[in-house]
Amino acid sequence: MVIQEQMSIQRKLEILSDAAKYDVACTSSGVDRKGNGSSMGNSVGCGICHTFSADGRCISLLKILYTNECIFDCKYCANRSSNDVVRASFTPEEVSELTMEFYRRNYIEGLFLSSGILVSPNHTMELILQALRLLREVHHFNGYIHCKAIPGADPELIELLGWYADRMSVNLELPTSESLKELAPHKSRKNILKPIRQIQLRRESNREFLGLPDKSITPKKIITGHEDGDIKEIITTKTGLVPYQRNSMIKRNYVPAGQSTQMIIGATKESDYQIMSVSEALYDNFNLKRVFYSAFMNVNQDSRLPVTTDGPPLLREHRLYQADWLLRFYGFQTKELLDENHPNFNVFLDPKCDWALRHLELFPVEVNKADYFTLLRVPGIGTNSAQRIVAARKSAVLGFHDLKRLGIVLKRAVYFITCNGMTMYPIKIEENFITRQLLALKDQLPLGIDKDITYRQLSLFDDASFQPEQRITLKLANI
């Protein structure tokens, strides 16, 4: 292990932002917090992107690790203890000053602090806590803070930290406990789920105390995930709450922006069906705000893990995000999108198109009559379009021309809707025909991934039940 004393702040930032780049976070958290006239900072519910890095991802937070030292040895991680890399650690003062000065200059919306495990989970959490306390109590920072809770740390520390952070996250890392055992031998799934549960319960009790309704706690008819033994055990254990420990100086709510988590995609053999079922169970049972998916990259060139010489499985990651969206905003359930016989998303089509093609009996949908949720299920119609249609048809009977004027993109929707009983062109509602039409649209592949796609990359996601026809593959490869 290489430890350098007296490392410059520049060098530390290089190492510790490099080490943090795979973590995903987002500030569109739904938390609106006005400035208070005396301290620095506010928070905007819809999120603000401050810049976009060369990989096209939004930068809104100063995303760093507190330290890249680690006593654990997770096989997929560049900071694992068995790797010989340069190690660095910030001090709480350095973290708080960087955050303040970046924030003043409007470089960032706040801080995203994650960390390797230095000495012990408790020791690391105490350092993180110290950095956050400096920010909130000394610098009176009122902007956004997202920090990691380290699994295995004392519940008391997690309780305390939650009063200083806006969002907390504990990474699930891998979808199943078997995979976790294999690749992250020092972690256990229950140890990860416990703090998630603890934070959830404190949030709920805090919100109840304040009389705040939590919009996201809507009664769902079916709560999924009970077949998952770990989840079931954690949510039925009664000992989730620890004694209340709010510092009276801190006039903040408990983790107001809620929790998120992250899973690595493609390092282990789980199907999309398994992954989405886990996500759904997390949303349903733990009231998570977001599940992030991170395309696996074999940074350690570890021969026990899949090779990623063709690049990370970005398209698969993209499809999972699309499906996640369908769960959260479109009223879909995982079992509608996937099942045991059809366990992976179609890489060629987005999950909604794929679903619609398998349910052509439900189409076409009449734009002037269908209710909001039915409209949402039409490929190409999103929440904005559906809302606009519902508003506009109050004052007029809509034709295709009107839809265009409303800014509704018809190139996909056109196969699935009627206006006044008429389709736009004479269209055969027939699976092969529509599939071919949809595949011809280049927007089925996300920006920048479309060109470089190779057959080998695509084949990463193939399974026995989905063998792309040679013809389609070739067509895709030379877009």
Binding site: A54, G311, R388, A391, A392, R405
Partner: protein, 263 residues
């Protein structure tokens, strides 16, 4: 052939609202009047033959009357939209707003549901564009600290969004003195702690006066560039996506896109 009466007004919310008041009460009839705002450089778009031009002097009392009517007879939301359209770079916005208000005063608050109406639709579109640009700039504005502690930022937006973004920064940085300077329009939003922010014309401001950075400022600029460089996942580099999310036109004023002199 009937001559059109063209009301020429200043390119500002108050200018446009004054013209609306005058055109409305002129008695010429809606079909016979047209409103035209000065272009941003101060000249008028293109003079039409066979038209009579009426020059409008901006009058705050009349403008306030129009604002109040929109708020009370249509809705607060419609008022906000009209204001954003008035700040847009759309040529012909004064007349568009006039046509929108004719319908709005007739129908009331429900006008915003008439999305398939061409005028309403156009208002929505422009409103959205202006809103997007303002929202972008909340993130893309970059301050640099001057020796005296003042934070300075320059921008070059398509639409005149200064007044839309300044409240956010005044709320966020209540203890800071700051200037956000619109290079294209020679206007600036100024903020002093404890006071309301103000919008001012600053024809004499020289941007070079704000480019002498202190050592500390230089250090933070460097640190930011370091962060910007190291946060990239190389295997995912995707300039197309980056350009789509962050159009080139914003980058000129952003610290992280400044060329490194040392390297």
């Amino acid at each position: 052939m009937d001559e059109k009466k063209i009301f020429l007004c200043d390119n500002s919310i108050d200018g446009i609202f004054t013209a609306i008041y005058l055109a409305w009460s002129s008695g010429f009839g809606h079909a016979n009047v047209k409103l035209e705002e000065k272009c941003e450089k101060g000249s008028f778009a293109n003079l039409e033959l066979f038209s009579e031009y009426i020059k409008v002097n901006t009058d705050l009392t009349l403008s306030v009357k129009v604002s109040r009517s929109i708020q009370s007879k249509i809705s607060e939301e419609a008022f906000q939209m009209v204001c954003r359209v008035a700040l847009s770079d759309y040529i012909g916005k004064a007349d568009l707003i006039y046509r929108f208000l004719i319908k709005g005063f007739h129908i009331g608050g429900g006008i915003l549901e008439h999305l398939s109406d061409e005028v309403v639709n156009k208002i929505f579109k422009i409103n959205k564009n202006v809103g997007f640009e303002a929202h972008h700039l909340l993130g893309f504005v970059r301050f640099s600290e001057q020796e005296n502690g003042l934070l300075f930022s320059s921008i070059e937006p398509k639409n005149n969004v200064l007044s839309l973004i300044a409240p956010h920064f005044a709320d966020r940085l209540p203890k800071e003195r700051f200037i956000i300077y619109d290079k294209k329009r020679n206007m600036a939003a100024l903020h002093i702690p404890g006071k309301q922010w103000i919008l001012a014309e600053v024809p004499d401001l020289k941007i070079g006066d704000f480019r002498a950075f202190t050592d500390q400022e230089d250090e933070y600029r460097d640190l930011w560039k370091i962060f910007f460089k190291h946060i990239v996942i190389k295997e995912r580099i995707n300039p197309k996506l980056q350009r789509n999310n962050l159009p080139l036109r914003f980058r000129g004023d952003m610290t992280e896109f400044e060329p490194d002199i040392e390297e």
